[in-house]
Symmetry: C2
Subunit: 357 residues, 2 copies
Amino acid sequence: MVNLTKLTKLSINQSIFSKMGNITIKMLAKELNLSTAAVSKALRDSHEISEGTKKRVLELAAALNYVPHPYAGSLREKKSNTIAVVIPEVADSFFSLALNGIEAVAIANGYHALIYLTHESFEREKTLLKDLESGRVDGVIMSVTMKTDTFDHLKSLNKMVPMVFFDRVCEEIDTAKITTNDEECGYQATQHLIDSGCKKIAILSISESLSINSKRIQGYQQALLENGREGDPASIIDYGEDSVENFEQLRKVFREVDRPDGIVATVSKMTTDIYLVCMELGLRIPQDVKVVSFSNDSTVAILNPSLTTITQPAFEMGELAAGILFKALKKKYLVLSEESTVVPSQLFVRNSTSSSV
Amino acid sequence: MVNLTKLTKLSINQSIFSKMGNITIKMLAKELNLSTAAVSKALRDSHEISEGTKKRVLELAAALNYVPHPYAGSLREKKSNTIAVVIPEVADSFFSLALNGIEAVAIANGYHALIYLTHESFEREKTLLKDLESGRVDGVIMSVTMKTDTFDHLKSLNKMVPMVFFDRVCEEIDTAKITTNDEECGYQATQHLIDSGCKKIAILSISESLSINSKRIQGYQQALLENGREGDPASIIDYGEDSVENFEQLRKVFREVDRPDGIVATVSKMTTDIYLVCMELGLRIPQDVKVVSFSNDSTVAILNPSLTTITQPAFEMGELAAGILFKALKKKYLVLSEESTVVPSQLFVRNSTSSSV
């Protein structure tokens, strides 16, 4: 704690400090008659510096409103030329494309990107982030697991290195977030199914704690509401990690008399299950069931039938996230949260929602 | 060079050495009246040890057939609990599945896997491997780029840490290699097309320097030969990195009067191009052109038409590679090359090669 009453007694050399905007360690050192190294160590609460000296440094720093760059220390001392990318998986075209965008920027900046996969395990995410606190990397780009529902591990790492979130962001952390217009896309996909003649539209939901998922569902509900449809809670189908259970559940849903005639898949990998269940039950796409998927798969145009998609700007989102991270690594003062960007996705209409077949 | 004539003069304490199998540094130290640290440094050719002492140590080590574990030093001194996985890309279901296999084993062993992507750049592969020589990781699992045609960077890293290759292996490095039966599969795919009635079979080739590619092509040529077909060199189509050029080339091939009526895609991503070109030119699959792809894509069953594949045991190959690496990290004596394994792939016949449509 800085004793503010004492500050008035400090002999501050006004001629040095009056004109400048940014207070530097060098200025503090000169005023306190200490070495810059000593001031730097005092600011980092080093055991090498006496409590008395630490107090003097902190009081002057506070009086002059000295704002240290939170990461400058680690960067100057031990630059790893490495960033970490922490993502749930790569067996998904969204993440693999985003990764390519991140890598393109990292390579251009002379950096290595270390890729860490959480495999949707919250425990693993916590372990990996703890490991990153050791200073192995200069910055982190990440997308959280579908189970991440507490945020202390993110806050803790964010104090050590700059972090940028993309797609599956954490609203609780005050930093840059690169997202797409998920709510609008949920709305757009649903409205497109309504326009194509669907009467009962279901949506597959991956995780209640993921903001992208809840936003897509909000958009879905909004479209139903605006079209005077009842937001039937039974039409929101939980899609978990057990592939056998997922398939069984879809089979059950489509066997019902009151089955959906339109479905929104909020992630790409649901598509194969939907197509296979329909095939098995003799339901024709699009005549009996119309399908829209959030997907970046390269095969969507050659599916049977070709798939209507909401396609996210995956590569661009990765590029943007990395661009902001490198800006933070180069600049001393950057308010990361001000760099947040929303990049719109795009609806591509193909045969899986055709009403003229 | 060890002077063998001198060895007879060494006063070896037979009572110490007669019964044991493994000679340890401690034994050498005792016999030479040196500290274990000095022996260890001498064996590592440290500048801290005089040439005379080094010579004494090396001579005794040679006489007693002392075999140092090549990586024991780095492991004892600085265990990172981290392995590196160096692969060309993740936007390919083979590599993303193999990665999942590797990670499953790494996690079970309490290790982190750092994933490095080369993006098929030979230069990048060299830079990344140089970086790994710093001792950041305890071991490396890798699949080389399609341009890797010299091997000094691999040999150099292999001296520092244990390496295991999978899929795209480097024959020049004497270590464990996990592969699938590529030649047999090239043969099997081609024979299946012949059996399905194809008269002119082409194969898409990704890289002349990759062993997996040349083996698949050898199998293709062998099948043609055994069926009394001429191995038409024009039927081996180079498929590079430029997606526009690739598409244009396929279009040209299928526009010819003497076009192929069967095609083998040696990697999964070629499939979309083949299907789209056929669609554009009004060629029906399988009636006009039959297709077999090496693929692990989850969508193969819902393509239009469903795709006949050679499916590699991707996850299992990753698991095996990691299993061997951890065995090497735990055991003192392991001849890695003896751990090489060939895991067979499987042909799944679907509609893209049907002769009854």
